[in-house]
């Protein structure tokens, strides 16, 4: 069930833009020997262009499955996902994914990891142009000096930067991040969150991001999608995050509304959708 609180209704009217990414009546059901297993049940979500949407929910609630259907790795059993009215049936560079485990190709340098995507997606561009784009995006994430290093020579934070550069270099319409900073230490995580915000504002890209961290979601997102527990998980509630941009972490945390929102989300996750020990 989807309930909108009053603020989000208000902002939706304020935004009043055409839907960009539409998830419509999406269910995912896996057949098992013990009958069908419903992972997701009746998901509806409309994302506007340039919006930053965070997803939160307990492990196993099907967040990743949902994002996999946006990126095209999986197909919904029922319903459909559309990007600009075009139905999503397969992965593609207009919906770039940043994986939690970075998924860099270990036999290539940071530069080559970015370049290989450009070379594949834009075969008609000249080599000089593709090289320039790759360098520009490595510079964007502060990795100009590490461009020729192999992934194993890079720290976790640097690897994730390469992964973000690889994704952004292809000018995706949607950037999909599956817990991108989950494996990083807190300081690196905060740095990357801030960089991601800057990049998002500069590129005007639409972002869908899974997180386990409420503070991260409140700092980054326009909206926070809170999912109920699986099986048959669905969107429990969508919270609007009203802080003005550009955001400043300390200023947000001084805002009394911050703790209301935070407590509301915590209450949803741990009381209303808390794990029932069997």
């Amino acid at each position: 069930m989807q309930t909108l609180n009053s603020t989000s209704l208000k902002t939706d009217q304020l935004i009043n833009r055409d839907p960009f990414l539409v998830i419509e009546d999406v269910s995912k059901i896996y057949p098992t020997p013990n009958g069908p297993y419903i992972v997701l049940d009746g998901i509806n979500l409309t994302v506007h262009e340039g919006e930053f949407v965070c997803l939160i929910g307990h492990s196993g609630c099907g967040k990743s499955t949902l994002l996999d259907m946006v990126s095209g790795f999986r197909q919904p059993t029922e319903g459909e996902v559309r990007l600009q009215t075009k139905r999503i049936t397969e992965p593609g560079p207009e919906r770039m994914v940043v994986f939690q485990n970075y998924s860099l190709l270990p036999w290539m340098s940071a530069f080559e990891n970015v370049y290989v995507g450009l070379d594949s997606v834009w075969p008609d561009k000249s080599k000089a142009e593709k090289t320039a784009i790759a360098r520009e995006h490595l510079a964007l994430v502060g990795l100009t000096e590490a461009a020729n290093k192999k992934p194993k020579e890079l720290s976790g934070g640097m690897k994730q930067r390469v992964s973000i550069a690889r994704a952004l270099a292809l000018r995706p319409q949607v950037l999909i991040l599956d817990e991108p900073f989950g494996a990083l230490d807190p300081i690196t995580r905060e740095e990357l969150q801030e960089e991601l915000l800057k990049i998002w504002q500069a590129h005007q890209v639409t972002v869908l991001m899974i997180t386990h961290d409420i503070d991260e979601a409140l700092f980054l997102g326009d909206r926070l999608v809170m999912m109920t527990n699986g099986p048959a998980a669905t969107i429990g509630e969508i919270m609007n995050i009203p802080f003005a941009r550009p955001r400043d972490r300390t200023r947000i945390m001084e805002d009394p509304a911050y703790y209301d929102l935070r407590n509301y989300a915590l209450d949803f996750l741990y009381r209303r959708c808390g794990h029932v020990d069997e």
Binding site: S71, G72, F73, E90, P91, G92, P93, R95, M96, V97, F99, N101, S103, L105, P106, W107, M108, V116, G117, D119, S120, V121, K150, K152, L170
Partner: protein, 276 residues
């Protein structure tokens, strides 16, 4: 000041070299002791006049002239120096193994990329790979009607199975992460092959090649014993027929060393090619 620094630096360097030698000697001295002990026991066991096998000293005396001092003599026919014999064998291995590598890697990639083909042919491969090398010889002699191509075919058929099987596994184990990256980036065809599939499976391919080169060297000696001609295998057989056991022992040592070098050669190439 600078000279002092230089001197200190040099002294330090010298020390380092000393350390390296010390370290290496730990790896060199024990094997030398082991070999010496082995030769000593052999000498004691075979020194009685009615012993069936020659002692190491006798082996050495028997084969010194001309086999050891002139590995390149050529008296025509099969009466050639050991280096020439081994080169002839290596030539056959080179042809047979190269063919096996090309065909094996290609077949392995096809089989590994397609589950249906894998299920279809894997049982066949599993049966064929257990066939001993020499069992192929009659069939290849019948089909090829000539000794030399038959020996090469035996090398080919012996070394191809580990190459196919390891390449297949290498392709199948490509992590889902890399496949996902390839899908998002729309890497297909030749680009997928060169950027993802080959680099991801190359460690497995080299494992197959290393097993394959070892097997082909095992097989060539046996095959040459049967098909004749110039080659280390036939040299051993010929020595047996003229009951010169010392020559056989010398040839065995050479065969062992060449086999080791072949294995190390493939391992060396692998260390250059395989991405860390």
């Amino acid at each position: 000041m600078t000279t002092q620094l230089e001197r200190r630096y040099k002294a330090k360097n010298k020390n380092n070299i000393g350390k390296v030698i010390q370290k290496q000697s730990k790896k060199i001295v024990p094997p030398l002791i082991a070999i010496a002990l082995f030769l000593l026991i052999w000498q004691i066991l075979c020194s009685s006049p009615d012993s069936n096998l020659p002692s190491p000293i006798k082996t050495f005396q028997d084969t010194w002239d001309p086999l050891i001092i002139d590995p390149f003599f050529d008296n025509g026919g099969t009466d050639k120096g050991l280096a020439l014999q081994i080169l002839a064998s290596l030539g056959r291995v080179a042809i047979g193994f190269s063919l096996a590598a090309i065909v094996g890697i290609a077949v392995g990639i096809v089989v590994g990329s397609n589950n249906f083909i894998y299920n279809a042919v894997d049982p066949i491969f599993q049966v064929l790979r257990t066939v001993p090398p020499l069992a192929w010889l009659p069939i290849s002699l019948a089909a090829l009607r000539d000794a030399n191509p038959s020996a090469i075919f035996v090398i080919f058929i012996t070394s191809i199975w580990p190459i196919i099987i390891n390449t297949t596994v290498g392709v199948q184990q490509i992590p889902q992460d890399y496949r996902n990256v390839a899908k998002v980036l729309r890497l297909r065809g030749a680009k997928y092959f060169f950027k993802i599939l080959f680099p991801a499976s190359v460690p497995y391919i080299f494992t197959g090649l290393r097993i394959g080169i070892g097997l082909s060297w095992l097989a060539i000696v046996a095959a040459e014993m049967l098909v004749g001609g110039v080659g280390i295998g036939f040299f051993i057989w010929d020595a047996w027929n003229s009951s010169s056991l010392s020559e056989i022992i010398l040839a065995l040592v050479y065969v062992g060393i060449v086999g080791l070098l072949l294995d190390r050669l493939v391992a060396f190439i692998a260390s250059k090619v395989v991405p860390e």
